[in-house]
């Protein structure tokens, strides 16, 4: 039940998604990944990809143009 942080500030599409993909591979089921990003495309493509993979996901805007994405590995 560990928590992992992923700093994706100033990373251009598709680097945030690739980083999330790599971290999720290493994580155990039930672990949570917290992504910090300022790229609004990540909201679209990371959320879409994660939902398709069947993980839990939600996000929150923590400042103007900055988001935190929470992913819980479900399987």
């Amino acid at each position: 039940m560990a928590e992992y942080k992923l700093d994706c500030l100033h990373e251009v599409c598709p680097i945030p998604l690739l980083k999330a993909l790599k971290s999720l591979e290493k994580m155990e089921i039930g672990d949570i990944l917290i992504m910090h990003t300022d790229h609004n495309c990540s909201i679209a493509n990371v959320v879409e990809w994660t939902k398709k993979q069947g993980h839990y996901i939600d996000y929150i805007e923590i400042a103007e143009g900055e988001w935190e994405i929470y992913i819980e590995k479900a399987r």
Binding site: V12, L21, C41, K51, K52, Y56
Partner: protein, 233 residues
Amino acid sequence: MASSRIEELKRQKKMEVSKKRNQIPYAILLTIAVLIIYLIITKYQITFGNYWVIGILLGITIQRSRFCFVASVRDPIMVGSTSLLKAILLAFIISTIGFFIIQYNAIASNPDIRIQEIPGQFSPVGIHTAIGAVLFGIGMVMAGGCVSGTLTRLGEGYAINLVVLVGFIIGSILGTKHFSFWDKLLISNAEAIYIPEYLGLFPTLILQLALLCVLYYIAHWYDKKSNIMASTM
């Protein structure tokens, strides 16, 4: 879809984050500025105002929908997601119908119209199209944005795209400078092909729509299929 632990994390964060600044006054100021510019430029020429309004509406659409030509061709290969590719295909379908109406009206009102006078862009197609597409494709994937994407993100305040914009300007200038070379070498030998000239306008419309629909269904099927592949990974 969110688990209870994600909800908990979100609630914690929401309390830490200070209340956001109200952006409504900026929006009102910007709208007034847009209207003033519209009034000023329509004085010079009425079409400038139309371009201004269409440009702004396009910008809003691209920004809000995160419409991205790069992701539309990259994501199917990289992560097996075709939602943006399907959006592009839908855009093609809509513009096909729109251009059909425009060209049909142009031909109906003047049956002796020359092909060069029909509304639309008729450019020669040939090996230079492929060379240009490969160069542009490499560039846009590396830069993380095509022209519209770069401009949209720059407008959002994403400063990395400033670098891309500089590269884009340099590339455009070099392209303009070397255009006569390419024109002499390849473009002038190629021919502009207008399919309705051979098939008729209406059959071409049906053919193009059918082709786009088939591509749409392939994209849809690929999206579903790649999902199954990923779950067995």
